[in-house]
Symmetry: C2
Subunit: 232 residues, 2 copies
Amino acid sequence: MTLKMYDLAGADPLLRFSPYCWRTRMALAHKGLEVETIPWRFTDKDAIAMSDQGRVPVLIDGDKVIHDSWDIACYLDEAYPDRPALFGSADAKGAALFIRRWCEGQLHPALARLIVADIVEILHDKDVEYFRSSREKALGASLEEFCAEQETNLKRLHDVLMPFRLTVKDRPFVGGDEPAYADYIVFGALQWARCSSPQNLLQADDPVTRWFADMLDLFDGLGVKAPRATAA
Amino acid sequence: MTLKMYDLAGADPLLRFSPYCWRTRMALAHKGLEVETIPWRFTDKDAIAMSDQGRVPVLIDGDKVIHDSWDIACYLDEAYPDRPALFGSADAKGAALFIRRWCEGQLHPALARLIVADIVEILHDKDVEYFRSSREKALGASLEEFCAEQETNLKRLHDVLMPFRLTVKDRPFVGGDEPAYADYIVFGALQWARCSSPQNLLQADDPVTRWFADMLDLFDGLGVKAPRATAA
């Protein structure tokens, strides 16, 4: 039976830009599981009420409802142990959890400084007011003020990526010759930026750029074929 | 045959304080390998000339000479595959490499800001001038100036540890129920501080403190029994 997944979408229902949903899309493809993705907007809280919370991804697998991208990854390895593992071992899971905490604590904020004002441009009309007011309250600034110092913010992104750069400089993927869930965590962040913003944030000679291009090509180009924001 | 390892020592030959050597000590214990550690000081370059470089740890295994703590860890898993693995899978090794890069790029510098002036107090006389002049040249400040803002530096350490804190909050070790090489990497950093300085840098209610105490008790208390700096 095909799985279903609620996936954050913009005004264009094919434009999918959540970093957490991208982790799950890649994880499902890694395991060779077909999924029907259902476009979901920030204000569609009722549509996922069966998950008892208000954020995506939400995965429906038969009578099971699983939310939270990390819990979904753990679920997929448990429910489908005969398919390629997202975590190769217990220590791989723990170290991937560290990468997740680093990603959410450092990489996401560094990217948000560059793209959050662009996100407004791709949103469905019904999400704009919710997105702007909730984010501006959390940030204590307008989205445009928050993104004002672009040169400084690009430098900060470059610095934040250092430990990841030094990792993929020495191996094709975090997972080795093949990607693993740790790769999908960081891919989700950069794909969030790529789909939400027409800016090019990575430098051509950065090992992260090589790695990201290889990630975009995986699974018959799942990432590279995804619709993305275009310059106004 | 017992392995031999050159291990950074202070004036007290039993006081061992290198973060990289502690990684290797723990890795050898993890694999159940006996090792004879040879006290080594920064200026004993001739003693390790057979490794074609000037830093420890250097491991001697029969006719093999291996240096660099990361390369030693990889060697041990390859040379002793029937003993407990330091890396449970290819993705565990990649994610541990990320933790290493984070540790060396963020955690070591944050700890250095707190302890580098204390290190001078434990050194062998023949190392003091070498250590002070090489470090002060690299830092562009006296060791005492570099460590001056203790309150700010403690706050920074607390912030830097965040992704690790959120990891060990949810599991006994990075490795899961048992430690793995990723744990030894971070342990090496905190054991460097513990052995080099009489300061207590961790807060009692920090999950990192619980994890570090458990790490100190491993292998019959290899870490907790190690001689450390005492207050003057």
